[in-house]
């Protein structure tokens, strides 16, 4: 027992304290200009952390508007993609004949780079609305949906089909129907796999939302602001958006971790 606690404590040190020290050291090097010497750059291209924070403070209203635009796209796409991916996994489980082939196609989508996917989808959706804001939003949500769908369908399929040994025999000895087996065994068995998928697709949804903004017709979102500000050589403002983008990703991942810890608490 003592050894176990000790081990836990050591892994906490490794997973929290070490990265923290590394982060603080990096920021210290950055603020003191040491990082600029190492990277052979200047404070114009790479502004000091304090300067970036000041800019975030000064532009907080505008930044929040863009954060809201990006988060909406990421979350909506994540929800649609995950639901669609799970439905595909259910279909593949119920109809194994078509299922495995379908899953291969879906996971092939995952291999398409977002920079290739985004322009195509933006081109497809140019007639869905007369307003540029709406049709751009639709296109971006579809990009995120496609990206999120792939990881959910593959992982959920594993959760629905890779059952613990004898657990399906048990259902059979109780003369349980297919629906009962699905609801009482396969669905609950797939829950941890849903989180495995989300660990990939939550960061993926943020990245694909930001990248698809680059190609969108309507200018909005954190990703697009990074690009726009670099184009006009406003590096400090661009950096403010880069930091904001990091925070979005980290916060969404942290929210996922909290939900996962609550939902899977009893299983581990």
């Amino acid at each position: 027992m003592a050894a176990k606690v000790n081990k836990k404590r050591r892994s906490a040190v490794q997973s929290v304290v070490c990265p923290l020290i590394f982060g603080i050291a990096l920021i210290a090097a950055w603020q003191t200009g040491l990082l600029h010497i190492v990277l052979n750059t200047d404070e114009y291209v790479l502004p000091y952390p304090t300067r970036i924070i000041t800019i975030i403070g000064e532009n907080s209203d505008k930044i929040m508007t863009n954060v809201w635009a990006s988060v909406q796209v990421a979350v909506l796409g994540l929800i649609f993609g995950s639901l669609l991916g799970y439905l595909i996994a259910i279909f593949a489980t119920v109809f194994p004949k078509y299922g495995s082939g379908g899953l291969t196609i879906v996971s092939a989508f995952n291999a398409i780079p977002i920079v290739a996917l985004a322009p195509v989808i933006i081109n497809w959706t140019k007639d869905v609305s007369s307003e540029a804001e709406v049709r751009s939003a639709v296109a971006k949500v579809i990009v995120v949906t496609v990206v999120s769908m792939a990881s959910m369908s593959v992982n959920a399929y594993r959760g629905l089909t890779e059952l613990p040994p004898f657990s399906d025999d048990l259902m059979k000895t109780y003369a349980a129907g297919r629906l009962t087996e699905f609801v009482k065994l396969r669905l609950p068995n797939s829950v941890p796999y849903i989180f495995t998928a989300l660990r990939v697709s939550v960061p993926g949804s943020v990245i694909s939302a930001l990248v698809s903004e680059y190609f969108a017709e309507y200018i909005t979102g954190v990703g697009r602001q990074i690009r726009e500000n670099i184009l006009i050589a406003q590096y400090s403002t661009a950096w403010a958006y880069i930091v904001t983008a990091c925070i979005i990703g980290i916060v969404m991942y942290a929210v996922l971790m909290v939900i996962e810890a609550i939902v899977l608490k009893k299983r581990r």
């Binding site: 040994p165 004898f166 657990s167 000895t173 003369a175 349980a176 009962t180």
Partner: protein
């Protein structure tokens, strides 16, 4: 087949055989012409080394496998009919508890499947848990229990539907000697209280002698029933019976009945 036999036997096996198609196109005889009757309330062991077809035979009785030859009747019905009437309770090599359910919820699972009311479900599950002596662990999760306790929950769950026949597939093989011996005593107590027909698959000779009314010895290559040995030790059996010369003699008799191992 004579009518008298059908009437008396709870489980009747008539020339049951099982042939698998191996990967290289050859036929593998897992089981050849097993014929035997099992009476209501009997405790039967299927004993043999790996590859003797004992688990195959159990799964045929449970309707989890279809025999390629011969016939099985359960109280005059096919195994499938018996399974659909939920005459079987099955205990597997591992406890097969659903880790997202508490202990009591695991025992309630079969009762949920037959759409038993909530109150009745709980009442029955509590009773079963009491039978295996784990009442205080009702709201624990499976991972919080030891292997022996998990297997006891598995037994309680198998009994929840009050099946006529309890099928046990090497249920204690993963447990340590001390836990196993304790569970032997517990299982015999449960058997006496509930009066089930039990078919117990094992590769442990002394386990089969200690528990059974009859030990069915299966030999491998091909899997066949090579002997049926009556165990006429008195009941109720206690730990001490293992130290008697009668017990030792029966173990030797069983061991000597294997062919070609």
């Amino acid at each position: 087949m004579n009518v008298e036999r059908i009437k008396n036997a709870e489980i009747m096996l008539d020339n049951v055989g099982m042939t698998y198609d191996a990967a290289d196109g050859k036929k593998v005889q897992a089981l050849t012409s097993v014929t035997m009757d099992i009476q209501k309330g009997e405790f039967i062991s299927l004993l043999g080394p790996s590859g003797c077809g004992k688990t195959t035979l159990l799964r045929i009785i449970a309707d989890l496998l279809q025999p390629t030859s011969g016939k099985v009747l359960i109280g005059g019905e096919t195994p499938k009919e018996a399974r659909l009437k939920r005459k079987y309770g099955m205990v597997f090599q591992s406890a097969v508890l659903y880790d997202w359910r508490t202990v009591i919820k695991n025992i309630e699972l079969p009762l949920e499947i037959i759409h038993e009311g909530k109150a009745e479900r709980r009442e029955r599950a509590v009773k079963m848990l009491d039978l295996v002596g784990l009442s205080e662990f009702a709201n624990h999760y499976p991972r919080q229990l030891s292997g022996g306790m998990q297997q006891r929950v598995g037994i309680a769950r198998a009994l929840a539907l009050q099946p006529e026949i309890l099928l046990m597939d090497e249920p204690f093989s993963a447990l340590d000697e001390f836990t196993r011996e304790k569970l032997h005593i517990d299982l015999l107590k449960i058997w006496r209280k509930t009066n089930k027909t039990i078919i117990f698959v094992t590769h442990n000779i002394s386990e089969s002698v200690f528990l059974s009314d009859r030990v069915c010895v299966l030999s491998p290559h091909p899997g066949r029933l090579s002997a049926v040995i009556d165990i006429d030790l008195p009941r109720p059996r206690t730990m001490e019976i293992r130290d008697t010369p009668e017990f030792t003699a029966l173990v030797a008799k069983v061991r000597n009945s294997f062919e070609g191992v």
